[in-house]
């Protein structure tokens, strides 16, 4: 089983490294051919406006939407990836191209600017021990539909969620050496 990391802009190599540490064959995805080879796709942190625009123009957005709809692709989005996966963004740019894969409403830069970026330990539903959370100009989930499971929350709101084979976190597990969230996503991919 191969898992891809959307290799347009952002923390690509960090996710590739985590997948490889989990023993997975990981490949960067920047065109249709590599996308067709993977069962799971990670959308890394970066700038959602940049990534959204570039995947739209490269025709990748359409394929990702089709494959998630027919159940042949699992997706895990971190930070900017969450913004791109959200069905609704409360303070987004008009016309910002997105994937709209999950029934969640997200607020961008919910904790403030870079000065307010932080680290904290948080409880993650699927794990016994707390997870190190690195939040960088991070979004937050303001609302979620009934079909969405909230996996982690801070006092300000939800920061991790799952809907079927879609997984998203507002924080960056790829900036830590804790492999559990990636392992959790790999398990989702194997279920497909």
């Amino acid at each position: 089983m191969k898992i891809g990391v959307l290799s347009v802009q952002g923390a690509v190599s960090e996710h590739l490294k985590m997948l490889r540490l989990c023993g997975i064959e990981a490949l960067p995805v920047r065109e249709q051919n590599s996308l067709s080879k993977v069962k799971g796709l990670i959308i890394p942190g970066g700038e959602s406006t940049t990534i959204g625009k570039l995947i739209e123009e490269a025709g990748l957005a359409r394929t990702i939407k089709e494959r998630t709809r027919n159940g042949s692709l699992a997706v895990f989005g971190t930070c900017a990836g969450m913004v791109l996966m959200a069905g609704e963004v409360s303070d987004g740019l008009e016309n910002q191209p997105r994937l709209e894969l999950m029934n969640i409403k997200v607020k961008r830069n919910a904790f403030g600017r870079q000065r307010e970026s932080f680290e904290t330990n948080l409880e993650f539903n699927a794990f016994k021990k707390p997870l190190p959370g690195v939040f960088i100009r991070s979004p937050i989930i303001e609302e979620a539909g009934e079909e969405v499971d909230i996996l982690a929350s801070l006092p300000e709101g939800a920061v991790a969620a799952r809907q079927g084979s879609m997984l998203t976190t507002a924080f960056h597990p790829e900036l830590t050496d804790d492999l559990r969230v990636h392992q959790y996503f790999i398990a989702i991919c194997k279920e497909l």
């Binding site: 952002g10 970066g46 961008r108 600017r113 000065r115 932080f118 904290t120 900036l175």
Partner: protein, 294 residues
């Protein structure tokens, strides 16, 4: 408990910018053009380096009012420049809430001996470097991101190429060094042995490394990415061109598809007049901004 301003959070911010283009802007209108074109951040300043060069005199931090307006106009991160060693200008920028501070040789240095102690700030810093030693000295002072110095405001990529090649070459040398050799190298570079050990282990700089100083075309951006840059700063190259919007979009695409000559050819077509640019030999020693703060 939330811990703000950790080195991981500062360095992580730069990691999120990888593969992207950061554009110099002087007005709200330009910042919006940059955002629409797909820039990952903007650098807010009063004049682009080419104009600073032409104007002469002392170049200082920009007016906080202008920076604030740009911060309010775009959703992408906003960076701003302060003079080398000017602690108070950096405090102003942190207070304003800019997302990244560039302690930059483009402005007139305030201190000829010391750089800012960047560990004392919650906002991350980017600094320029011409070689590995300079890069590691800046990182040990707390810089969370490095860029080549190049020669700003010239539209001539030759110095950025020189600096990127130098850093990459020195990293390859470090990777092949034995422990005792590393000690001597650390002494020669004025950096700690631990820092060189980290470079040897990872085979790269401990932080993200962008290209800057003279990148003016999509092909320049692709060249710097092929030489190993993590991303691109474009200063005067965009808004000194005839068609800024088109050039901005083309540089963003060229940075993503840097290994795709077909696409690079497409985006290079019909961009109009680029910035005129300067030949290095026409610069006197005092014109060379890269010699500042080493």
């Amino acid at each position: 408990m939330k811990e703000q301003g950790t080195f991981r959070v500062k360095k992580g911010m730069a990691q999120m910018q990888k593969g992207g283009v950061i554009m110099d802007v002087t007005t709200v209108e330009q910042a919006k053009i940059a955002e629409d074109a797909g820039a990952v951040a903007v650098m807010a300043l009063e004049r682009v380096p080419a104009d600073i060069r032409a104007a002469g005199g002392v170049a200082r931090m920009a007016d906080p009012v202008m920076i604030k307006q740009i911060m309010e106009a775009v959703t992408i991160p906003v960076m701003a420049k302060v003079r080398i060693g000017h602690i108070a200008e950096a405090q102003v920028m942190e207070e304003l809430g800019v997302d990244y501070i560039d302690e930059s040789e483009v402005l007139t240095p305030a201190d000829e001996q010391y750089h800012i102690n960047k560990h004392l700030f919650k906002v991350p810093f980017v600094c320029g470097a011409r070689d590995l030693g300079e890069a590691l000295r800046r990182i040990s002072e707390g810089a969370a991101m490095i860029r080549t110095k190049g020669e700003p405001g010239t539209g001539n990529v030759v110095e950025a190429v020189r600096h990127m090649r130098k850093v990459m070459d020195q990293i390859r040398q470090v990777v092949g060094k034995a422990d005792d050799e590393l000690v001597v190298m650390a002494k020669e570079m004025g950096v700690s042995v631990e820092m060189l050990e980290e470079v040897r282990k990872e085979g790269r700089l401990p932080v993200v490394n962008f290209a800057a100083g003279g990148v003016a075309s999509p092909a320049d951006a692709a060249l710097m990415m092929q030489l190993g840059s993590d991303g691109i700063f474009v200063g005067s190259g965009i808004f000194k061109a005839d068609n800024p919007q088109k050039v901005a979009e083309a540089i963003v695409k060229a940075t993503m598809h840097y290994n795709d000559p077909k696409l690079l050819t497409e985006v290079s077509k019909g961009l109009g007049q680029a910035m005129p640019g300067l030949e290095m030999a026409t610069l006197t020693d005092s014109d060379r901004m890269q010699e500042r703060g080493i």
